[in-house]
Symmetry: C2
Subunit: 427 residues, 2 copies
Amino acid sequence: MIDYKKILGDYTPDYEESLRLKCIENGIIKKLNDIISSRNIDAEPVSVGSYSKGTNLKNSDLDIFIVFSKKYPKNEMESIGLSLGHYILENGVEKYAEHPYVSGYIENVKIDIVPAYKIEPGQRIVSTVDRTPLHTKYVIENTDENLRNDIRLLKIFMKANNVYGSEVSKAGFSGYLCEILVINLKSFDAVIKYFSKLKGRLIIPENSWKKFQEPVVIVDPVDPTRNAGAAVSLENLSRMKIASKLFLLNKNESFFYPREISPRYHKRGTCIYIITLKRPDIIDDIIYPQVFRFERQIFNIADRYGFMPVSSEINVDNNIEILIELQRDVLPDVSKHAGPPVDSDESINFINVWKDRALRGPYIERDRLYVDSETRIKSFYDALNLELEKMDIGKNLNKLKDGIKIIKYNNSHFNVVKKFFSKDIFH
Amino acid sequence: MIDYKKILGDYTPDYEESLRLKCIENGIIKKLNDIISSRNIDAEPVSVGSYSKGTNLKNSDLDIFIVFSKKYPKNEMESIGLSLGHYILENGVEKYAEHPYVSGYIENVKIDIVPAYKIEPGQRIVSTVDRTPLHTKYVIENTDENLRNDIRLLKIFMKANNVYGSEVSKAGFSGYLCEILVINLKSFDAVIKYFSKLKGRLIIPENSWKKFQEPVVIVDPVDPTRNAGAAVSLENLSRMKIASKLFLLNKNESFFYPREISPRYHKRGTCIYIITLKRPDIIDDIIYPQVFRFERQIFNIADRYGFMPVSSEINVDNNIEILIELQRDVLPDVSKHAGPPVDSDESINFINVWKDRALRGPYIERDRLYVDSETRIKSFYDALNLELEKMDIGKNLNKLKDGIKIIKYNNSHFNVVKKFFSKDIFH
């Protein structure tokens, strides 16, 4: 049998770390309470996030929300919140999710101080962060020590199998989804069994299949109008199903530890192109959707021109790299074009237009006219360059069009190539 | 205006030819009548075919049928018929359509002497030839000099535009179809107008669209259970529609004279293969369907393996030549295979089978497993050779499999290549 205790031991904060977090948390809350009451602000500091819920893994952040009365207008709430954040975090920097917060470090622990409005379950939120304290409350009220450890196990399992993380770049399961899943299904084992047997979409509760269209539908217990699983990709749902099936067939600790995948380079006899540009200084949440869209656009262009794309991959770090694999990068000199059906009013026009220009034809096959004509654009390089000019590749990438390089891969070093040759079930 | 008289003059037998045919016909009929009455045979010689109907063009054959009483059993009818044929045609040879007949020459005119059973309209036939005397009677009774000339014009037009001839190798309109069309639509001009406006299938009479499924449905006036247009291909119907449209837009005599199409050779950047074998000593009606089927099989193999066939062409003379044009004749070293959906019971099995053999993967895209593996058969030559071994290419061609050559075209001389580069609307 698998030793869950050992696994938890490897991932859960030890006594020393827990104590340090507790001290830091207490210190911040106390400091905030003091200044709030001295300045007579109608707000309250609340510890949220995995640490406060007892579902944190090693090296977790601390998330402290300052929950304001709704009587404050938005800009006032934000400016007071930010000033309180800077008061706590001397070297803190302002960041923006849906609204601004202050992020910094105390004793090497990352701390976010986030202003939000106080709401009750069912009340309309102003910003998504307003819901976070309710999430914390929900998890604390619905878990005991056992369930919290099972939530940790699920997070560990999902991390190891590369389906964890709600960031756009991951499109995986968030910590909160792990919490809801374990609370609903009662244990880690039950969650694994559930995924291993699941066909089609994941829908909790089952009667909400019509309300949301995403592959993963997990209705937020504190807000029934929200699908907490909306960000999970179909791929990651599929990966989690396969990981669960494999785990149940071979209950092995390795499923809880990340596997190093070394790229297996090999000759493919295809044409691999890398399209690269410098990454603009913009957060993942904004840049990734543009890169995904750009990848899809390149794939579609390759397909439309007949270069027969096989696969594609992206990598975003300091550079944006998009890899596209084609079955060919040069088209035949001649292409066969379907013209109108002979019955069409256009048929005679088609014949007149082509009869002196065609390399062969117009000719008839079955009930349709065809013509063989010279291929206008023969190379993928030319096709992509031509299309790039008129393409909208997203607000932030459009500005960088001139810096795009199209490189035919030939053992050169690109991170996206390493990623491409490392691809397996969980990568 | 177009001078139909001149065109008819160019194609219709002159006085001398007509006289010669008349004399030969009378001579044969008289000789047959004499021997039939002297031997007391219950049969009657009948002149059939285009000459007897007055719809013949220059250099037509003579078809003389010997119409037997149904009291004769088949083999007896045939043996008497053949002996009479040999009696008339000293150097005649026996041939077989659905049943045997004698073919020979008198004064350079080709003569067929064909035994058949006498039937009345509506009676069941034994062999398709039994219907021929009824066709002759129908045409004679329903045409006058004007209509006969219009029938001749239609034949000339169809010949010039390459849609005439009911042989399997042509799949065009027969002389009898020309006769029915003109009789039904009342003139050559009306037939052309009809084709130019026709959408979809040709169906005469219109209410018989459900009874027959072929592209051309022309119910035989002497046998409502038979579609006289069954042999016409969709291509030839399409050609006739286009020819009629073009003719009406530009009423030019050139539509009545065959056009010499010189092949326009050009670089195509594709891979053209010629598959050749000796033509077995077998009639067109039997060999063509096998060649067409073989052509289709080769096309499908090329498609299935991913060689992306574009076009194909056949030529049958002393050799059978099948041309197939491919977008490529070598596949990438690696192929991407779709495995089962992750929800399938087969998914884990697929992973186990492939995990150590795959060049890349198994991996997940959306809700399905994929794997990149080494392409087993990379060249079209190897693929076709492999498939040829197990393929059924028809009763007569199967015997010649060992003699099949697969040649990559490279300016070598093949008739099928000439045909391929001559292809246009009417070829």
